[in-house]
Symmetry: D2
Subunit: 322 residues, 4 copies
């Protein structure tokens, strides 16, 4: 027995998270930096050897230092680039401020309203996750509102070019379930300007989990928006690929060029950033035409599931993910 | 305390596998069906609640019942379809016989030689993994040789249309390390017919692990073959996306249509299977044009790593994955 | 990274068992030999590196090859030696047959009836745990009855010198809960001959778990029997010390010599086995005077808990352990 | 799937510790309060649901809030009560200050010197483990020296009534290995006053681990001291029973009354604390005559191991525990 080596490997501090009741990931834990039961959820910030600092809500990873950019760029940029010139952005959830950070990279953007329910989360992210929160926090175009995103959007009289929902997955006990209902998507549709784009994180998008809620969210958005797309991205700290749904408020007969030809994405990025390739490289660590192609080229099993999906999520027919 | 529920969740039989020393997956275990230390490795067949029966060599998952088709179709079909009419196929490793199963789906195929080092593995797969092994085992076009794949290929005087290497990852102690050397790739190149296609599984291909060996394998194949492509596929029982490298023995200035336009793949499948859509649906559970597009559309971080990769794997400069 | 060593330690097959919802043990798993859902419970026989083969019912360890003798000797011998000359023994539960094995070591014993609910358990132990089952199985003095121990005892017209209850812990869903009620203890008392001794396994007996059910079982036995003692023994495969309760059907004013002076135990053993020290050594791997002293010398925290215990277990006031 | 319950049980933060490479305990983790790599070791203070705050050195639990009193009373009081009137006490290691706390409970004690190598440990315990450290820290009879215990003792010209070694287990890489050598025990013997008592923690003392180092430590102390006793105590946060060895500097033919009759212990406690039963109850949460009897009544397997032990630990024949 080589004691040191064995102790090293056998005595562990670990965070284990589940994808299903039978399957999940484990991560060696370096530190727990923050822990508080807020009014809404158990909030922790931990540090793992693999992914650095991670925001954990009710024991589920929300964002990790090392790969959050994969998630936040994937959530934000397709919508921002499909809209021809986004000026006004509404974000629900997203207490890390990293979704706001991505939207604020666009010069055209004049106003971002971020509405998160839980002040404890926002404050903890500002203190412990500066990589995610600092840039947005310092940007005067951002207004942070601590309130229910659904109510805030409904009561606001503003119209929006892009609406991004970056809230917790639809679980039974969660406060955010109403943000996945058809009726709410209709309200978002109504609040969007012409050409407006809506995107929502849609839960697990991998082989194992894409039918938990992603296909239903897609089907529900599709029941409201003329153009709807599901796409997925590997985010390793989530233990599985992740899904996103985009809805576009354009007449049905209008083409969406980014969906026809992925080189459009590179051209559009270039146009928005004045062809400044250094700026583009620094702005987009993940997103470009080929990454876009990978995200929107769905494997056959997901396409089959989308075809077979009949559920539409309403108050009376909620779908809860695991 | 609801005792039954807690015991149910807290008392567990689990298989944990690592992607890195700090990060891996866990799977609830139903049964261990087989366990034997062979001359070459620790061989087990386990059953997990999530993925069914799994072949485990030296504690690493090789194939799992529920998602093996993602791996085996991804390994096999791009090469089989890029070759205009594969008749003779050489397979190294692949003791589950599922890679052979995929190649034997093509009517054009006249002879498949599968060469695996470990009779214990092949016999266990025939007994415990009939889904993977049965169809190939019953096919008279298949010859199984229990021997070192490298030596067998070198000593054979046959030429091959497609060569598939489906052996264990390059690890220090593994017997297969020489199957990843440039000199072996040169021999494969020499044994291929004109138009010949080579494909090798290339280890982890996700965000976390793609630099362990995949980029080096790609670079090494590229030093031998005129056309070389890396591609990746989600295989959830592996805990991370997986990588494959394809090398094509065609003059450099020849186009590879499947790499230009993924609708070519659907057309080619249709052609090979006489437009029989039911047969096609039953033959390809995963692979088609759009799945192909997702596999070959690499995310930016992998493209960056490929660009920066300078290692070529030779006897004197081996690269061992974790 | 030394890959072999890391894989060795980081890729694991493990059985984890809980003492409480927050605390338990883990054991590296070699094999699962048997798995069946019987009419009553989930039955498995596993093999761990530390403790060899283990019988697992509803995911809780019942007996392990390497340390079962600690449990079975502790359960059996104090009762057998306190009774001056046990001839007739009734055993409830104890499907491993190891409790029977211990009682059959006494020449005075003429008849042992073992009554276990679950034929699947008994058969699996006979097949896979010969160390525990073989000797008893071959002994003609043993009668095995597959039936409810409580009903069988109640309906029998025999009287018994020693009654041993070796059934699963009192959990809500368990079939054996009635075997822990005061009314059943009264029936046992009535079925015992004069000088009769009753002993029951009593669940966890360590610092953490002794108040789960052991103190209540003690208090309930004490409400029926004139002399009652709780004792504990380390059984490492259980993850915690284990408790036993003994009740003696002797007038209150009679002395129990084994409780006064532990050298009595050694003398009594010698007497029963005709001073044959080799036989004694082979018969008792664990039990002797000093081991007895350790088992009956309770630490202060258990004595305090016994003093403060007021619960008596009846049909209307069951106590369920975790 | 009841999501909340499953997430609750399946997503976990856990500390796992090994008893052997194949067997250990797991504890649900609430928080990591402190983490620092000191000059000598990895120092952490964690909080677990089961045992509260725990000092962890090189990933091994040293003391836990909920059960440290079992360890510290067992280490300290037998020695303190065997000595007729301890005035001067030397403690090696014991950075939690809880061993000092126990010795300072005796009015007779005039001076306690505690010598720990690692200031980081002592400071962390003072800050985060006040239950263990506060009382001793405030007591003017205690002198804390940050230095090597062995050197400090050797260089001191004082004589001691009681010497207590409370240092890390003898592992290969550990700084404390020399504190387990026969030559050091001889020096302790020489520095003890007449009637002097030496006690050392001796590593695992349970069924599984007592031969790792406890039997050798016992044998080594016995090669120096006229009277030597091994004893064990359940300390659940250690995952196994723990061992202690006591050596008494009294002529061989002198009786040690506490070893003959455990009621002596109760009488002696009463004498030392003037029969003040409230004071005694508050002073000794664990230790009294019957607890003493349980600790010194060794089970047969340990007695057999002691009998068969021939190793004596010297610089040339070190014994490393797992």
């Amino acid at each position: 027995w080589d004691n040191a080596a064995i102790a090293n490997e056998t005595c562990t501090l670990r965070f284990s998270e589940c994808n299903t009741p039978y399957f999940g990931i484990w991560l060696d834990l370096e530190m727990i930096l923050f822990k508080k039961q807020s009014e809404f959820q158990d909030v922790r910030i931990i540090e793992t050897k693999q992914f650095g600092r991670q925001l954990i809500l009710d024991m589920k990873t929300q964002s990790a230092e090392k790969d959050e950019y994969l998630y936040h760029e994937s959530l934000t940029h397709p919508a921002m680039l499909i809209h021809p010139c986004p000026k006004r952005v509404f974000i629900g959830g997203a207490g890390e401020l990293a979704t706001a950070r991505e939207t604020l990279k666009y010069k055209s953007v004049e106003r971002v309203v971020l509405c998160d329910l839980d002040k404890v989360v926002v404050d903890a992210c500002i203190e412990f996750l500066p990589q995610m929160s600092r840039a947005a926090k310092a940007d005067k175009r951002l207004e942070i509102i601590i309130a229910d995103a659904k109510q805030t959007l409904e009561q606001s009289t503003e119209t929006w070019d892009v609406v991004i929902m970056d809230i917790a997955d639809p679980i039974e006990a969660g406060p955010g379930i109403a943000c996945y209902f058809q009726s709410f998507y209709q309200q978002i549709y109504d609040k969007l300007s012409d050409n407006g784009v809506f995107v929502t994180q849609s839960g697990p998008g991998g082989f194992v989990g894409h039918q938990e809620c992603a296909t239903t969210i897609y089907n529900t958005v599709k029941s409201v928006f003329p153009h709807t797309y599901l796409y997925t991205q590997e985010v390793p700290s989530y233990g599985q690929d992740w899904a996103f749904t985009i809805g576009i408020k354009l007449p049905k007969d209008k083409d969406i060029p980014a969906m026809k030809d992925w080189t459009f994405v590179d051209k559009e990025i270039s146009k928005r950033f004045n062809g400044d390739s250094t700026l583009i490289k620094n702005t987009f660590r993940h997103y470009d035409g080929q990454s876009h192609s990978g995200m929107f080229s769905l494997p056959k099993h997901i396409r089959n599931s989308l075809e077979n999906e009949t559920r539409v999520m309403t108050k009376d027919t909620p779908v809860f993910m695991f």
